[in-house]
């Protein structure tokens, strides 16, 4: 009896400690974003003189101005489109590849695995100029395709290895069982592995989306026509040679980050649902 009470009390204390810890971490994580959000309601001058704290004077026209001047409607479309295609491409290509290097046995398996690890150590500087050169010659510069192709390639190594790590946790017997039933590898990938690994694919989708959404250097270099620019490069409209409009930059940040949070919430819900339905039973 007393053991039960002690256990419950201990449980209560650890519960409270955990909650406090989580809340502190949440505050730590969120405060800068809250500040950015508050700053979007201030005048430019206030932002420069005292970037922290509550607005002394609340201004509400920043959103409309920033949205219109930055052309965010267009930008949202461009970024969503690009991200969508890249996500599909990456999931397909990485799904196949990760399945191969984690489940199948073939001679060059070690080589490919090592290749993708080494690939991660190549920074963007190394290949941006030759890529620009080639794409220029092919006339692809200043099109969405240039970015789609480049982003897909850039997202492959990490996500491939990530998925491989995740997939390795799924017992091979499941796919073997399917193969005995007469399925090809592709079938067993689609019918067995995919449903179980759904949440992993979702994780990768989210990570790729965030990368594409926030990527700046390449989208700034490859796309120069206003109407095609992605979201991340729009805020430069508010930086000027004689000083930037900080209030609008903060507003632009909020506009930039809002869809990502929304998407994350939406997809994450599917996560948790997928978790219970996708796991192995017996």
């Amino acid at each position: 009896m007393s053991n039960g009470i002690r256990k419950r009390k201990g449980y209560q204390i650890s519960f409270i400690i955990k909650r406090i810890f989580l809340l502190l971490m949440a505050i730590f994580a969120a405060v800068p974003l809250i500040q950015v959000f508050l700053n979007s309601f201030r005048t430019d001058r206030e932002c420069k003189i005292m970037p922290l704290g509550l607005p002394q004077k609340w201004v509400f026209n920043n959103y409309k101005d920033t949205w219109l001047i930055g052309g965010y409607g267009q930008a949202y479309f461009n970024s969503f489109l690009t991200a969508f295609i890249v996500i599909i491409a990456v999931l397909v290509v990485v799904g196949l590849g990760a399945y191969a290097i984690s489940k199948l046995n073939f001679r060059l398996k070690g080589f490919f695995t090592a290749y993708f690890f080494v690939a991660i150590s190549l920074p963007g500087f190394l290949y941006i100029v030759p890529d620009y050169f080639v794409m220029n010659k092919m006339g692809l510069v200043d099109t969405r395709w240039s970015l789609i192709i480049v982003y897909t390639a850039m997202q492959i190594p990490f996500n491939m290895l990530l998925l491989r790590t995740f997939l390795a946790g799924i017992p091979r017997e499941l796919e073997e069982a399917a193969k005995i039933d007469g399925c090809s590898e592709l079938d067993s990938l689609l019918k067995i592995t995919l449903p179980i690994a759904r949440s992993m694919f979702l994780t990768i989708a989210i990570l790729v989306f965030v990368s594409v959404w926030n990527e700046f250097l390449w989208s700034n270099t490859f796309i120069t026509t206003e109407s095609l620019k992605l979201v991340a490069t729009r805020f430069v409209k508010f930086t000027g040679e004689y000083g930037s409009n900080m209030a609008r930059i903060y507003t632009a940040s909020v506009i930039t980050i809002a869809p990502v949070i929304a998407l994350y919430l939406f997809l994450s819900r599917k996560f948790i649902e997928g978790m219970t339905s996708g796991s192995v039973k017996g």
Partner: protein, 453 residues
């Protein structure tokens, strides 16, 4: 089966998306490649020749202004040409484009040292023939024009001229009964008094842009070592390690350590903070370029400031360190270099347009000999005084040397990276200057040393 259906539908959607993407970008992608930038409308701009001019950093209000003073007049003057002004907010994209064989026809680069690098890589055209054709040598101030030469050839035209001055927050000065100092000694006295009142004497911050130190050392070397000493070092008749220059740098370091420049926290404070401190009265003065006046007027219109030449050192007199703010160069990859030259010529000869742009939009003036300051009636009094200051300094030959126009680029890069180390006592003035001297020596041997007026 179910998953196959899912995949098929995904593919269908993807295909649809792809066609959508292709359609909207198809107009750009399959034209005769190679060019950068495209027509904004569906008009067949293939008939018109095309000139792309690069332009650096402009926020939306400035874009509107620019359209009025550059886009429109250009369109009127060149109705048969499709002139596009493309914005770049960093040098990387421009460099990548140029390295990759593309880039705009007319490039607005940071200054002569920038242009020199492009020239080294044969990415900009030599302008000697055009200069003869249009008589450019006579248009510009000699010092500005000559600074655009590299290896004895002209590669760019100076877009603006600027100088380093001392700004005074007159509200703070008057409230405390302080007077604008005329000499170095008076300045020192003033700074002591300012510090006693818990106000920062000279605001400075470079945490977001380390290179801002070149404002400081350009000012100190020109004004307190004197242009003669600097010129001698650059020409090889003296050394950058000579006593005059060494003392000037030591003064700068001492003032920093006393907390007179930047309150000993300049590496933690941004440029914007610096301006904000000055405008709000947290600091009494700031050493900044004439370009800052635009920012002050735009963001802090009620700030009552004045700008003067740096308080003089005895024996040298007041000096204004000059610089060319940028340079227009013609891309070697350009398809229409002759047309580009014509456009350039237009920009520098359409003075009415230029005066208007200065009056109404605060544009920086071209370093043209013909520049008539009386045409600037109507601009803010403070700005007018500043321009007068610049003009007088040129007439009276009180010309100093800013590093980003007059120093070899390696030397400037080295100094920009290591001046903070001087302040933080991680590097001695002697070592610093000695290293800087090696860059001068190298430039002299390579014959890439800039010519000082």
């Amino acid at each position: 089966m179910k998953s196959l259906k899912k995949i098929l539908s995904m593919c269908l959607v993807t295909a649809m998306m792809c066609t959508m993407a292709a359609c909207s970008s198809g107009g750009n992608g399959n034209q005769s490649g190679g060019g950068s930038g495209t027509a904004d409308t569906g008009k067949s701009s293939k008939d018109k020749e095309k000139i792309v001019i690069s332009c650096y950093l402009a926020d939306d209000s400035q874009v509107a202004v620019r359209e009025k003073y550059i886009d429109e007049p250009l369109k009127k003057a060149f109705p048969d040409v499709n002139i596009e002004i493309k914005m770049y907010n960093d040098r990387q994209s421009l460099q990548v484009e140029v390295a990759g064989g593309g880039g705009p026809d007319i490039m607005d680069l940071d200054g002569p040292t920038d242009v020199a690098e492009f020239a080294k890589g044969s990415r900009v055209l030599e302008l000697g023939d055009y200069a003869e054709k249009y008589g450019w040598a006579n248009l510009f101030y000699d010092w500005a024009y000559k600074s655009c030469f590299y290896n004895d050839k002209l590669y760019s035209l100076p877009t603006s001229f600027e100088g380093m001055v001392m700004y005074y927050n007159m509200d703070v000065m008057e409230k405390n009964g302080w007077e604008v100092p005329q000499t170095e000694d008076e300045l020192v006295e003033l700074m002591k008094k300012v510090k006693e009142k818990d106000i920062i004497p000279i605001a400075f911050g470079n945490s977001n842009y380390q290179g801002a130190v070149d404002w400081l050392y350009s000012t100190f070397s020109s004004c307190y070592a004197g242009p003669k000493a600097v010129k001698a070092a650059m020409e090889g008749n003296g050394k950058y390690t000579d006593a005059a220059i060494k003392d000037a740098f030591q003064t700068m370091v001492d003032w920093w350590k006393n907390g007179w420049i930047g309150d000993k926290a300049s590496q933690s404070v941004t440029n914007e903070d610096m301006l904000a401190f000055f405008a709000e009265g947290k600091a009494a003065m700031m050493i900044d370029g004439t370009w800052a006046s635009n920012q002050l007027l735009a963001t802090y219109p009620d700030c009552n400031w004045d700008s003067e030449m740096m308080p003089a050192k005895e024996g040298i007199g007041p000096i204004l360190p000059f610089a060319t703010g940028g340079g227009y160069a013609i891309n070697a990859n350009s398809d229409n270099p002759d047309l580009a030259a014509e456009v350039l010529n237009y920009l520098f000869t359409s003075l009415d347009r230029h005066y208007q742009s200065i009056r109404e939009a605060g544009y920086q003036p071209y370093p043209l000999k013909e520049f008539d300051i009386s045409k600037l009636e109507g601009i803010d009094e403070k700005l007018n005084n500043q321009y007068k200051l610049l003009m007088d300094a040129q007439t009276n030959n009180q010309i100093g040397y800013c590093s980003w126009t007059f120093y070899p680029s390696d030397m400037r890069v080295y100094m920009n990276e290591n001046t903070d180390a001087l302040f933080l006592e991680l590097l001695s003035v002697d070592d610093y200057l000695a290293k800087a001297q090696t860059y001068i020596d190298k430039a002299i041997t390579d014959k890439t040393i800039p010519v000082l007026p």
